[in-house]
Subunit: 433 residues, 2 copies
Amino acid sequence: MANAEILSIGTELLLGEVLDTNSKFFATELAKLGIDCYYRVTVGDNKDRIKASLKQAFDRSDIILTSGGLGPTADDLTTECVAEFLNLPMVMDAEVLKEIEKLFAERNLSMPETNKKQAMRPRGAGVLPNPSGTAPGILWIVPTEVLASAGVVDPQRKRAILTFPGVPSELVNMWNQSGAAFIADNFLTGAIFSIELKHYGIGESALAEKYSALLDGNSPTVAPYAGQGECRLRVAAKAATMEEARALVMPVAQEIRRESGWLCYGQDDDTLESVVGQLLIQHNLTLSVAESCTGGLVSKRLTDIGGSSAYIKLNAVTYANEAKLKLLGVSEGLLDKHGAVSDECARAMAEGIARLSGTEIGLSITGIAGPTGGTPDKPVGTVYLGLFSNGQLATKRLNLGTKLNRQEIRFRTSSAALNMVRLHLLSRNFVVQ
Amino acid sequence: MANAEILSIGTELLLGEVLDTNSKFFATELAKLGIDCYYRVTVGDNKDRIKASLKQAFDRSDIILTSGGLGPTADDLTTECVAEFLNLPMVMDAEVLKEIEKLFAERNLSMPETNKKQAMRPRGAGVLPNPSGTAPGILWIVPTEVLASAGVVDPQRKRAILTFPGVPSELVNMWNQSGAAFIADNFLTGAIFSIELKHYGIGESALAEKYSALLDGNSPTVAPYAGQGECRLRVAAKAATMEEARALVMPVAQEIRRESGWLCYGQDDDTLESVVGQLLIQHNLTLSVAESCTGGLVSKRLTDIGGSSAYIKLNAVTYANEAKLKLLGVSEGLLDKHGAVSDECARAMAEGIARLSGTEIGLSITGIAGPTGGTPDKPVGTVYLGLFSNGQLATKRLNLGTKLNRQEIRFRTSSAALNMVRLHLLSRNFVVQ
């Protein structure tokens, strides 16, 4: 089985100015294809170190993916270094040059002389098209005689190099349009199909225990991943064709969805906010939110979804007590007796925002995100959620503990609130887990 | 001058399950100390590959920082690999064991046998304390004879190894409390002082041009960095003492602040939202926000700041036209004539939210975040901001173009809105750039 190595090129990475999301993208994509990745290496814009890293990668790996260093300036060295390491002259690709000139012409700009460099590549190397930028990459099964002349260990073994620019959006486009298929065609004998089942309301170890029998399985493989108060189960299989791989995955995925029930909120690109949106549209319902400690985060997440204006009309951030009184009709007596962080206040806020906005469902959040404001009874991390629907009210108290910081408490609270709406929409009843 | 290498250990990194923020943290911190970092390498939980990477790092670098692989389970291999590579036996550290046992006792748990492993280290290695977790690391100037016996190239040269757990918060604590000082004491002959001056409203190339003379300087060095619609200028100097380094940086930093004027909104940890908060407190003013296309993001950013309840009382997300009518008193005639995405609507919303919330200042945002909803006159990325204060109104139109996606348009809009408030608070007049 072929393995891959990821080489990130750019001094800005070694200075910590940029977070390397490209390597994570490649790693995820390689895992999806079932190709092992044993090494990720980062070097700066330095010829000797880039060439030494290329040598090492060619010696020990089959597929080399590089990012960065394809720009028009003097410190963009990747293509040159590939050519020098492989003992090949650089040649101008007239087709690519035309493409670059066209791009500039379309923008009514004249092409700077330096951009010509982006049309050069090692003699014989294939072109990896870049539909969204000026710099194409290399996409190439390097011939055995070239590997041998460069002194690569075991030159008979098949080696590929693919070079990408450092701009994440261009890199992703190039991978999706050409890179992934090139690797699959040249290195995979079969196809991989996978589904991620997203869970909320169950921890990673509980999920692993629940599905321990499946986790030992091999085809499909099932693996749990945790992150930000959520958990994912990835079900993946490899087979001769995509249809066969899919046929291995689907029954297990369906079994997990059945078994997990409402603990599984969706799959792959689904988010709590997108699922809540779909359910609202499906039931033709609208939602409003009154937030205190989350300060607008729940509203922000709901409106991250394009088309959310179908179900979001008016949300309020009632940070001060007076705002809760004035806008939501929370009574002064209630606040005096129970305080703003209370079950009673959450109820009044949820009903108040639904009435104000004229939505079928009202959601409220009131709590203490810290770092100050905690009391022995209600320490930092105490949050009350309220839900109003069909004239009925439900509440939930969260105790998020003292280990999370302000941002984490706010984010986890927003997820719990979205999940409360989701469970209500699924049940159309006040089943709140 | 000493150089460093960063080694990230963990199969989860090679599978793309985790984004490697630790390497970026180390890279940033090393740059602050003025220590060059030439390589970052990532390997999985595999003994042979970890040892091969350690060998390579010791051969070519002076300081080796590792993260990951210090846990109690069988796939946590870092300490073992360091011992094996250096031909040293593992010894139990009774002090460290006591610390770990104490931690468990405090939580009323009995210590699992596997955790004993975390008290083991290569004979002679120093301990890097972990104040917030069970796994301490190694912090060690490796003796010449140990380097020689391990076959390290040039064993006379001073080498240090520091091992950190993969948990980012523990790693950061350990670096701040012990790691940074250890490296400074052992490898720096002087001190580094730096300031980052944060700019809004000027692009990276314009900033570089404005300060081109300073960018050529050497002591202090001045370098521009761009990110998410903002720009930073880092001013740094190295000298025998911190006082001397500071004395080199401060006059230049002050000159830049003077020259940049309001284009420079703060330094180091300042954010637009924290600076707006400070100005509001300073002037004893309160702010309210009515958001349409940003959907709560501006409110979320303002309330990210602990203590923001001093100036934030009531914000509204008026997503639907009816919400703008009902809550903010925007007239139906205005919406019919000009539409919700208009200068006129932004004015009415800003005044409406200030009156509703009873705050001195009202801010409004209405626009088209996409992906749909654009027209030839008002394409996606068209946004109007409104500001009401002292009975006066100002507006600003943003044209964010078609290249940004929905999330980017929303984020840049939120920054422009916060900056509009900032400029108003600085001028107490309607100077809007």
